[in-house]
Amino acid sequence: MLPVKAPRDPAPSRIKYRLERLWLRPAIRNSVRIGLPLAALAWMLVSLALNPVVQKGVADKAMALRNQIAAHPGLMVKELRLNGVSGPMQARIIDHLELELPVSSMDLDLGAVQRQVTALDAVASAQVRLEGAGVLGISVTERVPVLLWRRTDGALNMLDENGVFVGLAESRAERVDLPIIAGDGADKAVAEARELLALSEPIAGRLRGLVRVGERRWTLVLNTGLRILLPETGATAALARVMALHEAEDILSRELARVDMRDRRRPILQLTPESLRELRRAQGIIIEEDV
């Protein structure tokens, strides 16, 4: 029998030939051999990473691991130590912090603690640090109240030397050691008020307080009802002048309603009505209607 089937053609088809030649290009071959698996791997990783279930699982795992580490006894904070704080303040700070001890130092945000402590009005600054052996140390610089500020609504605020609110006072009796100021905007001129208070040291016993008028000038009020009106500028010089007058002529002990220092050229004194009448009588000028 003659072979019926034609012998197989050994020649490559044109497509196969071209593909083979393409395959022999180093760039193509490398990109297929190395680039393609890498690309597939990258695609798989990306798709895995974008899967919410996987994301949640990984996050849970990581969280669990973190918690396990955080639970290590060496990292636990068992004690809070406050430095430079008075007794009632200490309680306030601890109440304010609301720390549930023991807590792991990894769960503790020292910055937040520091911000929380400084957020208290009575605290000027605070340093927070882990002191080792499970102790969280907080060094606090307190604000010292130097003034009481009677506000228009009757509330008594304690102010420190910079005029910053320190706390509320229940009543005047609670802090009798502190001088009192009043009026809107008085807290913004605390420095001047303290200078005036220092100057008025000789009459400290008679001084009721300082009143800020129109948020621009001070008036000293004495317990006799005498008011010393000071100018906007040069208030300390004016008060010094008054004090000098007082020392020389004892004017503040007289029956005066007010001492007006707003005119720089001369102090203007206003007598009380009784003393005015007395003066008139003494001078022989009797006003009829008064009789």
């Binding site: 029998m1 003659l2 053609d9 050994p10 020649a11 490559p12 044109r14 030939y17 071209r18 083979e20 030649r21 022999l24 290009r25």
Partner: protein, 443 residues
């Protein structure tokens, strides 16, 4: 001739590019087989600089891929079925590429057909500055009067064979020498345009760039002739399947090439017809038992031949070897006589050396050298191609002379006419380049 000049120059540039890349394939398109070798050139080896040794130095490259396939669609060295030939070329190139593991883009090819015809040209000029310079060589090459070789033919080679300067002849390189008149003998080889264009188109269809095209007899001569033979003069007869090429070398240059459209294939068809056996069986018997010199032993040497209708062992025929020789010998004599006529016509008799080298696959018939010596009347030897590095054992036979020769040709091409700058009035180059060249020549 300028369009040929440009085409050949483009091919040269492609070959330079291939050498720079370091990988080039050589492809011998024969009638029976297509052989493809992939060559790797040593990196950094500049084969074209002046310091490179001339001649057949073959250390500069190694063969990294070799493949042979049965040729299809080729008859008498010419493509007759484009599709089939394309497939065969693809097969060979792919196999060679696979063995080499590199992609090949540039191919240097040889083919046996196209009825190559040689012309001896000569040109003559006055040397301008007393010293022969490169433009002078270009001028004298351009001054050669080109014969009218016909519209349907293409120039394949234009080899400056011999330079003469003021009566001193036999100069290989006249550059730098002092003289007045420079003349050149040039060997112009033309082939039929149609087969050449077919081959060009075939390579284009295979996505390959042709970086050179030669006739296979030239390539076979480069590989099969040893240096002395090339120097003194010798003829190389490339006995192929469908054509038998003839190339004559003297002073290391090919000075004549021709081909006879007869070859081993005709022997096979004679056996096929004479013994009434299939072609494949005839080919097999020819290669195993063939011979051309009958001796007394051959009468008793019985060869079993298959029945053409394949009767499963009944009616087995036997012939003696002398009968087979009786079929082969007349055909071989005819081929050799044909070649002898061409040799005589070429003026080979006037050369110093009278050595004839037989190569090609058909030259492997036992006793052919004795027969050829008798017919041609000259010293004959069977030539195997030079050994080149990396060539597989299977590709070292005479049948691969053309392929190996092509490899040698690729690594050390001989200067051709188009390697020199043509004078500006002869070449239709771009205007700017022409202007530049005019400036260079006049200042």
């Amino acid at each position: 001739m300028s369009h040929v000049f440009e085409a050949q120059r483009a091919m040269r540039q492609r070959r330079e590019a291939a050498l720079r890349r370091g990988v080039v394939a050589v492809l011998d398109i024969g009638t029976t087989k297509i052989a493809c070798l992939v060559l790797q050139f040593a990196p950094g080896t500049d084969t074209d600089d002046g310091a490179a040794p001339r001649g057949l130095t073959h250390g500069a490259f190694r063969v990294i891929g070799a493949a042979t396939t049965r040729s299809r669609g080729v008859r008498c060295g010419e493509i007759v079925a484009m599709e089939e030939t394309e497939r065969a070329i693809r097969t060979a190139v792919q196999a060679a590429q696979k063995m080499a593991g590199v992609r090949v883009d540039h191919v240097i090819a040889s083919f046996g057909g196209g009825a190559p015809r040689s012309y001896g040209l000569s040109g003559d000029i006055r040397v301008e500055n007393g010293e022969v310079s490169e433009p002078d060589v270009g001028h004298v090459l351009a001054a050669c009067d080109v014969p009218d070789y016909g519209m349907d033919r293409e120039a394949l080679h234009a080899l400056p064979v011999n330079f003469t300067l003021d009566g001193r002849t036999g100069l290989i390189d006249p550059r730098g020498q002092i003289g007045n008149r420079l003349s050149v003998d040039m060997h112009l080889l033309t082939a039929d345009a149609a087969p050449v264009h077919n081959i060009l188109h075939c390579f284009r269809r295979c996505d390959l760039e042709l970086a050179g095209l030669t006739v296979s007899s030239y390539a076979a001569g480069i590989a099969a002739l040893v240096e002395d033979e090339q120097e003194l003069g010798a003829a190389c007869i490339d006995l192929g399947g469908g054509t038998s090429g003839l190339s004559i070398f003297a002073k290391r240059h090919m000075i004549y090439a021709d081909s006879v459209p007869l070859g081993g294939h005709h022997v096979t068809s004679d056996i096929c017809q004479g013994l009434h056996i299939p072609m494949a069986a005839a080919e097999r018997i020819k290669t195993i038992h063939g011979g051309v010199m009958a001796t007394g032993v051959d009468d008793r040497d019985l060869i079993e031949i298959p029945n053409p209708v394949q009767d499963n062992g009944q009616d087995r025929r036997q012939i003696t070897r002398s009968e087979l020789i009786g079929v082969i010998r007349p055909r071989m004599e005819e081929i050799l006589e044909e070649i002898r006529d061409r040799l005589d016509a070429s003026g080979f008799a006037y050369l110093q050396g009278q050595r004839v080298v037989l190569t090609g696959a058909t030259a492997q018939i036992p006793g052919l050298d004795q027969l050829a010596a008798r017919v041609l009347g000259r010293q004959v030897r069977i030539g195997k191609p030079l050994r080149v590095q990396g060539l597989p054992q299977a590709a070292t036979g005479p049948g691969f002379a053309a392929a190996v020769g092509l490899a040698l040709h690729a690594s050390h091409p001989q200067d051709e006419c188009w390697d020199f700058e043509m004078p500006s009035d002869r070449v239709g180059a771009k205007r700017v380049r022409r202007a530049l060249r005019w400036f260079r020549e006049n200042w």
